[in-house]
Amino acid sequence: MYGWIWRTLPGNVWVKLLISLLLVLAIVYALFTWVFPWAEPLLPFSDVTVDQENVTNTTGPGGAPRPAGATGATSPAALPGGLPG
């Protein structure tokens, strides 16, 4: 693959080197600007939310149900995705 690219590039060694360098820079720029921001949320360790299904079950473990109206002020319990990380 790289051998083929090297042979395909025009010019002498120095021109080839310069073009290769520019190509590498362009690829790294594209990765940092578009590809990585896109890939980030697809990976588990940056998965900051939980399933909606789990959220509806939150009253299950860990505590008695709260008496209605006891909380006073507003509560964000209707959080769509659980606690972000």
Binding site: F36, V48, T58, T71, A77, L83
Partner: protein, 230 residues
């Protein structure tokens, strides 16, 4: 076969670059975003001062307005995290908002008000805002510089924890930690703050939670609260 090897090496390099992006570049992006947010806050504070009637004494700051989407509404300082640590807060806790700093859980109380003022932040990546949350101790101060006022919160020992531990580890589904009176932390209603972040550092299986209560609320013009001096 040689081509296949080259593909693997290329993939390896791309993955290494991704690590650089996550650990280093998101921090650069977060610093830029923070500078942007600080500028917005500065403008908002100046606008508010300009709109204030002249004859109102300094001690009577105007009531804070409802937070607006996309607009930062304060800066957080935590002396325990070091004197150079400060992060901006804006409404919303989606990944997009958390890339710009700390996020306020919409629907929770506003700073200084009755109920629970709930804030989320990344543990790792995007400037690692809440990296040192596990180091927080009972009695540590959390200071918010709002648009018109300073709010000082003091970290409490949650009623559900033994000893003098201040940090609760829980699961992401445990959204009741954000209740107006979170039952794992308090027995009576009050003006509370909740910080949430990821646990472990590079994971998302658990959450760390810290609670505190409002200690003081003073106009910006009154100067830095004692917690930030010295």
């Amino acid at each position: 076969m040689r081509g296949l090897g080259e593909v693997f090496i290329t993939l390896g390099v791309v993955i290494l670059l991704f690590v650089v992006y996550q650990l280093y570049w998101t921090g650069v992006l977060a610093d830029r975003a923070r500078a942007d947010e600080m500028r917005k806050l500065d403008e908002a504070r100046k606008r508010t001062v300009a709109a204030m009637p002249r004859d109102v004494p300094v001690a009577q700051a105007p009531k804070q307005a409802p937070y607006e989407d996309g607009e930062p509404f304060g800066t957080m300082y935590v002396p325990r995290f070091g004197s150079d640590w400060y992060k901006t807060i804006r409404p919303g806790v989606s990944p997009k908002e958390l890339q710009k700093g700390l996020g306020w859980y919409k629907g929770s109380a506003q700073a200084g008000e009755d109920g629970n003022f709930a804030i989320a932040g990344h543990r790792k990546t995007y400037g690692d805002p809440f990296l040192n949350v596990p180091k927080l101790q009972v009695g540590d101060k959390i200071v918010i510089e709002g648009i018109t006022e300073w709010f000082v919160y003091s970290i409490d020992k949650p009623v559900s924890l033994n000893g003098d531990k201040a940090v609760l580890k829980t699961i992401p589904e445990d959204v009741h930690v954000l209740d107006a009176v979170p039952e794992k932390a308090y027995r009576t209603p009050g003006k509370y703050i909740t910080l949430t972040t990821c646990e472990p550092e590079f994971g998302s299986t658990h959450r760390l939670i810290v609670w505190g209560h409002l200690e003081s609320r003073t106009p910006l013009a009154a100067g830095k609260p004692a917690a930030l001096q010295g």
